[in-house]
């Protein structure tokens, strides 16, 4: 594995929904160890960009690569990848969703061990060990036998994060992880994500929490109307925005 290749490499991404073009040719890279926040107003295409990375949305044009390997299509760039190969690609990434999306018929522990056992082929004991390690990390080990419906939003999201980590992914994709949470619960989840950031994980976070983005990322991308307008370290981006649009956006959200 070439350590110099970006973990995620997006080139010329196009995506339309019902005739409206949402992504208009996006180029984007995530380097190893980078924590990049993707910000923009609603409808800007930020979630779509993230969801294209693991092919939950199928792009209309452009390529996605994970550490150099094409996602979603075969080497010719056109024929769709067979399902099993796509699944294997996805197993290398992990996604944390806005609405947590835990599986309600499994308890917390099983939610975290299910994919490692049945997708990665880990032994049950090893998966359990890993799961308990990550649950402890996110502060949910005491609830490992509980069922999702008994948990608060913040607790569910932390379990979802543990579930993502248990897959030992090369990159973690966060799709508005705190948007569906009550204000009091946002803090606990942001804290967990912040800790992971300092552990050296590669992460892409779509968020509209500006202060959060500013504090944990080492790179911020501003996307507006399907195009990445500006990209740079949070320090300079937020204090000295180059484009007018970003300036307006910051003013509206601070």
């Amino acid at each position: 594995m070439n350590k110099d290749l970006p973990v995620i490499d997006v080139r010329g991404l196009h995506k339309s929904f019902d005739g409206t073009e949402v992504l208009k040719g996006v180029d984007f890279t995530i380097q190893r160890g980078e924590i990049i926040s993707i910000i923009g107003s609603s409808g800007s295409g930020k979630s779509t960009l993230l969801r294209c990375m693991n092919w939950l949305e199928v792009p209309d044009g452009g390529t996605i690569r994970i550490v150099g390997d094409l996602v979603g299509v075969r080497a010719d760039g056109k024929t769709p990848m067979p399902e099993r190969d796509l699944a294997r690609m996805r197993a290398r990434m992990a996604m944390v969703f806005q609405s947590f999306n835990l599986w309600p018929h499994f308890n917390v522990l099983r939610n975290v061990t299910e994919a490692p056992v049945h997708v990665k082929g880990l032994g049950k004991a090893e998966a359990r060990e890993r799961a308990e390690h990550w649950l402890e990390r996110v502060g949910m080990i005491h609830k490992k036998d509980a069922y999702p419906f008994t948990l608060s939003g913040g607790q569910k999201q932390r379990v979802a994060i543990a579930r993502a980590l248990a897959m030992d992914p090369e990159v973690i994709l966060f799709d508005e992880p705190t948007s569906a949470l009550d204000p009091e619960l946002v803090g606990e989840v942001q804290e967990v994500i912040g800790e992971l950031a300092s552990d050296g994980f590669t992460m892409a976070i779509v968020t509209h929490e500006m202060a959060f983005a500013r504090s944990i990322s080492n790179e911020v991308a501003f996307i507006e109307k399907g195009v990445i307008v500006e990209k740079g370290p949070p320090g300079t981006l937020f204090t000295n925005p180059e484009s007018d649009r970003l300036r307006q956006f910051i003013r509206r959200h601070i």
Binding site: E83, A87, M95, N101, A160
Partner: protein
């Protein structure tokens, strides 16, 4: 009612039970297959299956049994009456189960499917581990309800000569000339059978609601 009459009733009940059970087992499975096939949206097959489901759900059981019974001689081999009975009941209940499973499939929360996909699960793995277990639980009330309805339409199998719980009352009356006791006896047995299913349905309903969060 004499003991022999009760024994006849129980024999009739047994016929009702085993034919219904066979049809239920086959019908639930076939219904599931139909729902999956329809979900795959294969052009010609989709139309055919939709047509089949629609027409069979509107056909009375007795009409279906008779239709198959009089059409069976056209087949190049002999068909025993019980085969016709089970076939008719299966064809009927499969159509209803197909609708139940289809609803479960269509209303299954997309978010869970996305989470499974994002973890790298295949369609097959997803269905086995995530979707089917939950679909069974949430569909259980409807599935059990359909089982009761099937048993309530089972007297139609008497048309092929099978002596079910209802037909056997005629037999008993032919001997005793007292129609009321065997009919009431049969009613009691039906009441117990369906009553058990209703209890099962209520229990399933409570369990399903817990899953719905």
């Amino acid at each position: 009612m004499t003991q022999s009459a009760w024994i006849s009733l129980l024999q009739g009940a047994w016929t009702t039970i085993w034919v219904s059970a066979a049809a239920i087992a086959l019908g639930v499975a076939i219904g599931f297959l139909i729902a999956i096939l329809r979900n795959a949206r294969i052009p010609v097959l989709d139309r055919l299956l939709t047509f089949y489901v629609s027409i069979v759900r509107a056909t009375p059981m007795i009409t279906l049994v008779l239709f198959l019974f009089v059409s069976a001689p056209m087949l190049p081999f002999d068909v025993a009456p019980w085969v016709v009975a089970v076939a008719a009941m299966t064809i009927n209940t499969a159509a209803f189960n197909a609708e139940i499973w289809r609803t479960a499939l269509v209303t299954f929360p997309r978010e869970q499917i996305e989470a499974a996909k994002a973890c790298g699960m295949t369609e097959h793995g997803m269905m086995r581990r995530i979707m089917l277990p939950q679909m069974v639980i949430t569909s259980m009330p409807a599935l059990v309800n359909e089982m009761s309805l099937l048993i309530k339409s089972s007297p139609a199998i008497a048309m092929v000569g099978l002596v079910d719980l209802t037909r056997v009352t005629n037999r008993i009356t032919a001997v005793t000339y007292e129609p009321l006791p065997p009919i009431l006896g049969a009613a009691l047995i039906y009441f117990l059978m369906i009553g058990a299913l209703v209890r099962l349905q209520r229990f399933a309903d409570k369990y399903a609601r817990r899953l719905a969060m």
